[in-house]
């Protein structure tokens, strides 16, 4: 099981996955908006999305868990 964490502080702009989706390593899970930039947050391992812990528009801090992949 691997946590996908925010690489920096920002707002959740777009969620690309839902629970049950199969993701590959390097795939964009969520895109944050920070410093006026789109910040893709990628899966670090292959797996299935177990849970998405944020909603579009949420503020996340660096290190916050965005999704859980197993």
């Amino acid at each position: 099981m691997a946590d996908v964490r925010a690489s920096m502080a920002g707002n959740v702009w777009k969620i690309n996955v839902k629970p049950g989706d199969v993701v590959d390593e390097g795939q964009d899970v969520v895109i944050l908006e920070s410093m006026k930039m789109e910040i893709p947050i990628v899966a670090e391992d292959n797996g299935t999305v177990k849970e998405v812990k944020v909603a579009e528009g949420d503020f996340v801090n660096e290190g916050d868990i965005i999704a859980v992949i197993e």
Partner: protein, 509 residues
């Protein structure tokens, strides 16, 4: 036995290193014997080895646990010290330290690169009075390293532990290559951490190769095997001259790797969209010539050596794909050291700029982002090698300055046609300047007003306007970038300047 036979038998014995059981232990961990490592490192074996007989009156300490000598890599003579972890775990006694000091002093005299093959448990506590505190004690090793720094390349290949004081050997090298699973660096072992501060932690978590190459930044390159580490060192040295007096030699130029899409086709028009900077790097350098440093650490900034028509250059590039390419404390430090490395050894610098600025917010202010950013600016500003700055998309705020902006004496600033140079991007600027006005407008009018102001702002910072003001030296077709760089680096080659006269600056650290 004749004296010759006696010599042969002694040499043979010493060459075997420590006891068989320690060789076996190393083998289980995928570790090679020190002499095997050296055989792989040198083109034709070690040419000269001194103090082979160090401590030979003690049977249990062959060569006192370290091999020092000179051999050739890529046809270039280099000095080497290599710990033998089959001898008291590669620990340092009085003669071990003296041997290391002497080979460093040889590297200094002959102005040859110095390579450290580290695999050592640290000081022999039983010998501490002889090897720790004095004038020729272990501290002198670091003193010598600091003196050698920038005079000759210093490389550390870390095959095993580098403990306590010993951990400063890697710290003072230009580059540290760590073997996953075996290499580690730490001031106090996990056992000591538990005893002294009550922390329970594994060696891997606290000082392992993955941690140091991704989190602390003390390590630069993570490799899987010792062979890979040695290959990396040989490859890395090709980009360097033997010392600060000379330039890297020109290699045979190679064509760029062929791609379906050209540079102009891969760069997104939308300044805010993510973009993978490696795709641009691959399209301007000689095929397979990128030798990346600190790949896993502060990945929002890419640093690495490359060849461009056979010429060795250092690339500093923002990576919009990671953290938007924003500069953080770690990325600023990473850039500062890389720029110093290239400048010390006459390797020209290429800045590929696509940066929204330095990170803002409480977290980074508490980390001292201003002082870390100042380090990057200092190194970049002081670098007297040829510097070319390319504005790929955006260069906002102090990001422009840090990436060798016009005020920092680059040889030229080139811009792509969609480049934007400004104190801040249109979205942030309009919010900042017209916040009160926007708030006062009825909700339904706001979007139109913001858009109008942003468009106005975009016209204001239009790249042709900046070219008209001669802020940028040229606006170029992205697909001509490689050709432009080859021509310009060849012309700037003889740039010969002294930054200023003084003892040294007072650096923001």
């Amino acid at each position: 036995m004749t004296s010759i036979d006696d010599l042969k038998s002694r040499v043979n014995k010493i060459e075997q290193g420590g006891q068989e059981k320690y060789h076996e232990k190393n083998k289980e961990k995928g570790k090679l014997f020190v002499r095997k490592r050296l055989a792989l490192l040198f083109d034709n074996g070690i040419d000269i080895e001194d103090a082979f007989f160090a401590n030979c009156i003690d049977d249990s300490l062959p060569s006192d646990g370290v091999v020092t000598g000179i051999g050739e890599i890529n046809g270039q003579k280099v000095c080497v010290m290599a710990n033998d972890s089959t001898v008291k775990a590669g620990s340092w006694g009085k003669r071990t330290v003296e041997k290391i000091l002497r080979i460093q002093e040889t590297a200094d005299k002959l102005e040859l690169p110095m390579i450290y093959l580290v695999d050592s448990a640290g000081a022999r506590i039983t010998d501490q009075i002889e090897m720790f505190p004095g004038r020729r004690g272990a501290g002198r090793i670091f003193h010598n390293q600091i003196k050698l720094s920038g005079r000759v390349p210093q490389i550390c290949l870390l095959f095993g532990p580098s403990a306590a004081g010993g951990a400063y050997i890697p710290a003072f090298c230009d580059i540290v290559v760590m073997v996953d699973g075996n290499a580690s660096m730490y001031l106090g072992s996990p056992r000591m951490a538990e005893k002294v501060i009550g922390e329970k932690v594994t060696l891997e978590e606290m000082g392992g190769a993955r941690m140091h190459t991704a989190v602390s930044g003390v390590g630069d390159v993570l490799v899987k095997t010792e062979e890979e580490a040695i290959q990396y060192a040989k490859r890395y040295l090709r980009y360097f001259p033997a010392n600060f007096r000379s330039r890297p030699s020109l290699a045979d130029g190679r064509e760029v790797k062929p791609f379906e899409k050209s540079i102009s086709e891969i760069i997104p028009e939308n300044q805010n969209a993510a973009f993978n900077m490696y795709d641009l790097i691959d399209r301007i350098i000689d095929e397979d010539s990128f030798c990346e440093i600190k790949k896993k650490f502060a990945a929002e900034l890419i640093t690495g050596l490359a060849l461009i028509d056979g010429r060795s250059i250092g690339i500093i590039a923002n990576q919009p794909r990671v953290k938007g390419g924003v500069l953080f404390t770690d990325s600023a430090d990473k850039a500062a050291k890389f720029i110093q490395l290239c400048d010390a050894f006459n390797i020209p610098l290429l800045f590929l700029t696509d940066v929204p600025g330095f990170m803002i917010g409480t977290k980074v202010e508490r980390e001292g982002i201003i002082r870390h950013g100042a380090k990057m600016l200092s190194s970049m500003s002081e670098a007297t090698v040829p510097k070319i700055s390319v504005i790929v998309r955006k260069a906002y705020g102090a990001g422009l300055y840090a990436m060798a902006g016009p005020a920092f004496d680059p040889d030229c600033v080139l811009a792509f046609p969609n480049a934007q140079i400004a104190v801040m991007g249109p979205e942030a600027a309009i919010n900042a300047v017209h916040a009160n006005k926007i708030a006062a407008l009825p909700e339904e009018e706001r979007a139109a007003y913001i858009k109008e102001k942003q468009d106005e702002y975009r016209r204001e910072i239009d790249i042709y306007r900046l070219a008209s003001e001669m802020v940028v030296d040229a606006i170029i077709n992205p697909d001509d970038l490689r050709k432009e760089l080859i021509t310009r680096f060849a012309i700037y080659e003889d740039r010969n300047i002294i930054f200023t006269e003084r003892k040294h600056g007072v650096y923001p650290v």
